[in-house]
Amino acid sequence: MCLISLFEAPMSTSLTIALRNEVLTATIAGNIDGQTAPALQAQLLDALSPVTAAVFEVSQVPYMSSAGFRMLLLAYRSLAIRNGRLALAGLSEEIRDTMAMTGFLDFFLLCNSLDEALEQVRNDSTQHAATR
């Protein structure tokens, strides 16, 4: 495991990125909205470019606006074009509900914990993302 970067966005949103067995793990904490999403997006897209599997750990994200969902979907798209996979771990019930209603949820593998998510993106190499 190697720590690539630690990033401090405005409004005290934080991003921790790690690479474990070629799976990128991004742990995000704090709100993801129009203020914080652009910087997060730049960091994440950079970090995603060499990998084909990623897990975003978002259990410490209490609120996500439309900009947040778009950031996630763009991350998904950047992986999907390379037949990659993206799992979300620890998504709150409320955010999950909003994402379902607005059509964002279907794109992601959803997992309760980071370990489960890591397992999923490793095993799920043929289905889901690659078919879209």
Binding site: D33, S66, F69, T98, T102, G103, F107
Partner: protein, 709 residues
């Protein structure tokens, strides 16, 4: 040759600072607020304004944080355009102040003290949650917002189901799931409709027609019902605030500003389930009313361009709602075109039903045009090339164009004559048989040469009685509307079956149920496009109110308990819709030719009475039967069963002589509204053989449908 790192554009950089914000001269097209590299591009039209100011607010704020006058060099022609950089567009609201002459007689009503909503707003704030009292101290009520319109549609696009194969279901977004019985997570919303898709599929409809979903103000002309204390709203929403924005109050995520995504997710999901989406659009007037109404947008931007005005500068009122949008002004025509293109391209909408569409054919002084440019433009537009266009072919100014609406080979119409004739026949009125035969064949008297799908057949719609009330009330009962029962139509052609309103009389209840089945059966065996009003399949009642435009209560809400209470009627509706889908003979594209053009030994359609081959067209007849030859289905392009329909609107049973079939085919019973459920309708492939192939008794006020195979 590829290049992964594209060169940045020069215009991604500002050229100057206004009101502390970095800006540059904008792009004049498209109108509205558009995300561009580094910022937001604002473009707005006014022909008669002398100056324009862009006003920026933080979301929900009473006072603006910046006002940016457009420098003269930022105006090209009549368009003011500016790109503003580094805006947090998610938390932004904007509007315009326009200065210019304030001379009502000359048609100008400029007032720079008012902040105006952008008519091209793709997102509108101010009514984010349905029914939530607005802050009336806020001067700027309907607030333009910036939409990030990058929804991920994957492989979706409009379905392009052939129009004659549609079964349309007219519904109100909020009414469909607002009732406590709906058992959905967010009642009354776009998201909730998605939870009910399995129900829509089980009914068999393949197109939902949504009553207005453009942003409107439910508080427009709202009042309190003194009897119940409930608020009477602008509930149906036939009064547009913004033509490019979905109603925030219809979205569970409206408070988060995500109504566009929520509505798109609904459209995508409906499409995935084979259901098209048609929008009821209101281009005949706006929510600004007459000279006493609020100034929201158009009036202050360019009154003389957007509205039809009398020579004295007053508002023409062909809509019955205070003003009339000046649709055949070339600028306004473009607004309508831009709007429809936007909904098709951006929301994947399959079709539109135009409210009071006859207005769209009037010139700027109100005179009906022989060749209305707007209607011609829409009919020939490349982006709308496969979009269904349906006109409500009349207006409140007395222009009635059913059968004569300028169609350009594209337009279909709500067939008001179908409704009137079939209602009269159903209640047993004499003298209807010849006219009924025309309605059953897709009204060739009105639409010959335009195809059967030019006729949208309906017996009920949001205006008027529900199907249940059509067989339960002779007269309207609109007291709850607060207008002394003076509003709503008086020519309902309804019959209460012997008692006005609710009853415990089992004979009357049985008769009413049979009449509802008769109505649904006639609708589904008619050539053309059938349309069902939401709830009619489960006997929804408005207790005799035939104009429930203002009620946010059980008068409008779909009561999901009725799905079980009226399971028999629902089952019949499902079966008769399935019957239509199973039989292409009911879905001809072109009108009948009354001859045998495929060599089957039978004409495409033949007419009968109680005696085969001898229809009774006389003025006292209440009986008609017809035979559709299966070899002529869809113009002879496919082979179907033969279909024989015997319709008896006389009160006693009558014996019908059934025409004989060639080629050893035999008659089977598909539907008999005179029989008790479940023998009233048999699933496709399980129709029992008719015992006597020559004669059959058809009950009083009943319909028998046979299939020959």
């Amino acid at each position: 040759m590829t290049q992964p790192n594209m060169l940045q554009r020069v215009d991604a950089y500002p050229t100057r600072v206004i009101a502390g914000l970095k800006v540059r001269a904008g792009r004049v097209s498209p109108f509205g607020a558009t995300l561009v590299p580094g910022g937001v591009n604002f473009a707005v039209f006014s022909r008669h304004a002398t100056s324009c100011v862009l006003v920026l607010f933080e979301k929900g704020a009473k006072a603006p944080f910046a006002e940016l006058p457009f420098p003269e060099e930022f105006r090209v022609g009549d368009v003011y355009a500016m790109t503003v950089f580094e805006l947090d567009h998610e938390n932004l609201e904007y509007g315009y102040r326009m200065d210019g002459p304030n001379d009502a007689q000359a048609g100008h009503r400029f007032d720079p003290s008012v902040v105006l909503m952008d008519p091209y707003s793709r997102l509108i704030g101010g009514r984010d949650v349905w029914g939530q009292q607005p802050d009336w101290s806020m001067a700027y009520q309907h607030r333009s917002r910036v939409l990030q319109d990058d929804f991920d549609w994957e492989q979706d696009r409009p379905l392009e189901i052939p129009a004659e194969d549609l079964v349309v279901y007219e519904m109100h977004v909020r009414s469909f799931t607002r009732h406590p019985s709906s058992n959905v997570r967010h009642p009354g919303t776009f998201a909730a409709i998605r939870q009910k898709i399995p129900y829509l599929k089980s009914l068999g409809i393949n197109c939902v027609e949504l009553m207005p979903v453009y942003e409107f103000d439910e508080f427009e002309n709202s009042s309190v019902n003194p009897v119940t204390g409930q608020t009477r709203y602008n509930y149906w929403g036939y009064s547009t605030v913004g033509f490019f924005a979905p109603k925030a109050g219809y979205a569970a995520t409206g408070a988060l500003g995500m109504q566009a995504d929520e509505f798109k997710a609904l459209v995508k999901d409906l499409h995935k389930n084979g259901i098209e989406v048609m929008l009821d659009v209101v281009f005949n007037h706006t929510a600004e009313g007459d000279h006493r109404g609020p100034t929201i947008s158009f009036r202050g931007l360019d009154n003389k361009t957007y509205y039809m005005l009398t020579p004295e500068g007053w508002y023409y009122n062909f809509s019955g709602c205070g003003n009339t949008l000046n649709c055949n002004n070339p600028v306004v025509r473009h607004v309508v075109l831009d709007c429809l293109r936007y909904w098709v391209a951006e929301y994947h909408i399959d079709g539109f039903r135009f409210d009071l569409a006859a207005i769209l054919g009037r010139d700027p002084t109100g005179v009906p045009l022989a060749n209305p440019p707007l209607l011609e433009t829409l009919a020939n537009d490349p982006i709308l090339g496969r979009t269904k266009l349906v006109a409500e072919a009349w207006d409140a100014g007395g222009l009635y164009q059913v059968g004569s609406f300028p169609a350009y080979g594209r337009w279909a119409e709500w067939n008001g004559k179908y409704r009137d004739t079939v209602r009269k026949f159903l209640k047993g009125e004499m003298g209807q048989v010849p006219d009924l035969s025309l309605r059953l064949q897709g009204s060739p008297d009105l639409y010959y040469g335009r195809g059967t799908a030019a006729s949208v057949n309906f017996l009920t719609c949001h205006d008027g009685f529900t199907l249940c009330d059509l067989v339960s009330y002779n007269d309207k009962h609109n007291e709850a509307n607060g207008e002394n029962n003076n509003d709503g139509a008086n020519d309902n052609n309804s019959w209460n079956c012997g008692w006005e309103g609710e009853t415990n009389d089992s004979d009357i209840i049985t008769l009413r149920r049979r009449q509802m089945k008769n109505a649904l059966a006639l609708l589904m065996v008619s050539q053309g496009v059938p349309m069902i009003l939401s709830g009619d399949e489960v006997g929804r009642t408005q207790h005799g109110n035939n104009n429930t435009y203002c009620h946010d209560n059980e008068l409008n809400w779909f009561d999901w308990w009725q799905v079980e209470e009226n399971a028999e009627l629902l089952r019949f509706a499902q079966q008769i819709v399935a019957f239509r889908h199973a039989h292409p003979a009911l879905r001809h594209r072109d009108h009948m030719r009354f001859c045998d053009y495929v060599g089957s030994g039978l004409p495409d359609v033949s007419w009968h009475g109680t005696q085969a081959w001898r229809p009774d067209w006389s003025g006292t007849s209440r009986v008609l039967a017809f035979l559709l030859d299966g070899r002529h289905a869809k113009g002879g392009t496919v082979v179907d069963d033969d279909i024989y329909v015997a319709i008896n609107s006389y009160w006693d049973a009558l014996e019908f002589e059934i025409p004989a079939l060639p080629g050893g085919r035999q008659w089977r019973v598909a539907v008999n509204t005179g029989a008790a459920s479940p023998e009233d309708a048999f699933p496709h492939g399980q129709e029992p053989l008719l015992q006597n192939q020559q004669r059959c008794l058809v009950g009083g006020r009943s319909i028998l449908i046979l299939v020959g195979r």
